[in-house]
Symmetry: C2
Amino acid sequence: MRLLEERIQKDGIVREGNVLKVDSFLNHQMDIKLFREIGKEFKRLFANEEITKILTIEASGIGIACIVAEFFDVPVVFAKKSKSKNIAGAVYTSKVESFTHNKVYDVIVSKKFLTKEDKVLLIDDFLANGNALKGLIEIVKSAGAELIGAGIVIEKGFQKGGADLRAQGVHLESLAIVDSMDDVTGKINFREQ
Amino acid sequence: MRLLEERIQKDGIVREGNVLKVDSFLNHQMDIKLFREIGKEFKRLFANEEITKILTIEASGIGIACIVAEFFDVPVVFAKKSKSKNIAGAVYTSKVESFTHNKVYDVIVSKKFLTKEDKVLLIDDFLANGNALKGLIEIVKSAGAELIGAGIVIEKGFQKGGADLRAQGVHLESLAIVDSMDDVTGKINFREQ
């Protein structure tokens, strides 16, 4: 998605250790107009699919998922990262290792909101090692729901998550795939797609 | 907001200890069509105000804030609940006590995304004791930004947050104010407004 790649090159900040900061428009401050273009593009990419629910994970996936959901006319469920007092009753869980936060956490979805009738599109802001997405896929399987695919805004193509998931046959659409980046020049190379 | 009150009465679950669960449409599963009606209503209530930014807090405020932002045509910033590796540099912080999670956490907003030129509308799903909102207001003040007001989906009118904030002169708009609820009958009484 050209508009997104241009925005990442313009406003993204490359830091040592393959960190790409896009917090000025994607995951701290959120550019809702850009999110609408992202929603339109996911709708185009998954146009022929029947989808009943969008599943994402807190926190930075939520905003994108909600705007994307307007284009599919479905509700959004967000997986929660720890068990709070307010999630009583039966839940699906999986464990996810976060490199950003350097810890393992539980991901939880109430059984009420994901059933075997659901056809699920996963949405998230980033895909790197794919741990969050694999956790969500585990939850979709636990529910007996159908996984339609996953829509990712930025994939770090030099990490293994995308390749793993494609090898498993997941219909994965990443709007921008970063193949390499240079924290000295700030230059970002995107995969042609 | 009649539509919202009806939905809360229909799908909300009242639990002992004044807990109101609305996770089937507001803060776990999210009904995006309802969110659009909420956005429309906030736009009506703050129609005469100049707003440059919506500020909310992770996680359950984010989805609502993003849909509301479409009606105001402004970006959203969400305050983060703990310092992650990916927020480098200068941040505004305040401490917030959560009754739901029974702990005190730091709330953080990058200084880059809130400046003294900003005119800020706060958006959140719930207002009870008002701790989250007071934390956000402290951050707006630290930034030297102007607080235009706060839009809340559900206010627990029998807790002190709303009264405190109105007494401080905050332009607070709550779309539904619960004055009392009964965990035996499930009956919810809304304040006339």
